[in-house]
Symmetry: C2
Subunit: 152 residues, 2 copies
């Protein structure tokens, strides 16, 4: 099958500097972070301000989907082991190994991670978000509006 | 920034043969499809059977996350235009253009698509799912368990 090239569109800036800092599924801890988008993609952000959480600025309805103030950030976990097909869930050695597709482990053939985060503000090419568990320097490869209907 | 190589792990098999067949956000129509995984990744599927929907087979609880019988399939929309930064939402020309990161358009710098689908059954390397709006032949690049907590 064909291969494809992923080109990062931005980077995560956060106080989480080390994988061991990142709580497993730290999304649940409300960690704040910045998503710094490459200015070359500034036009692709137009309209995203509508998704800013009511806690941030004004929130506007979307004709198609309810705006819950969330976006999905897709990252490329560049430190992952792409050859691992099985892992101990949450690195707990006493738990039996499972296939990586049945876990959210970073180790997987294509180390993509999904982060449904609350969008707090946008300042030009910098998005401030809450609920991000990626570590500092993680490449960002896509951003989408979150939809409770489609994703929930 | 560095570039990365995405290697498909499988392919979508479905009655939707043409992009114009695929209802916009057709996930909501309950379209059934098969996800055929490259047998090289068979070990990575171990444990996923626990996610089979109660409508399919038995469902088992997960110590960490509620099993809602759903998985997230990530595809690479190989027919997309990666240079488009703005689109008319849902291809409706009368709606003002918006940045692709504020839409679910297939046209985006890294044409990844997310599909939260119901897992109906697994037969060796073939997953049967409901709620899939990708067209036949779309490359699959990752599979994750869906978590209402993390993704909802």
């Amino acid at each position: 099958m064909a291969e494809y090239i992923v080109r990062p569109i931005g980077i995560v800036r956060t106080a989480l500097k080390d994988p061991t800092d990142a709580p497993k599924q730290g999304a649940l801890t409300g960690q704040e972070a910045e998503i710094v988008i490459d200015p070359a993609y500034l036009q692709a952000l137009v309209g995203l301000a509508r998704r800013v959480s009511p806690e941030g600025k004004a929130s506007f309805g979307d004709s198609a989907h309810h705006n819950d103030g969330k976006i999905i950030v897709i990252c490329w976990m560049h430190g992952a082991d792409r050859d691992r097909l099985k892992v101990h869930p949450r690195d707990q050695e006493d738990r039996p190994e499972r296939g990586v597709f049945s876990t959210r482990s970073p180790h997987r053939p294509n180390p993509l991670s999904l982060h449904a985060v609350t969008l707090l503000s946008i300042d030009r090419n910098v998005l401030r978000v809450r609920g991000m568990d990626a570590i500092d320097g993680t490449p960002v490869v896509d951003i989408k509006p979150h939809s409770p209907e489609l994703d929930g």
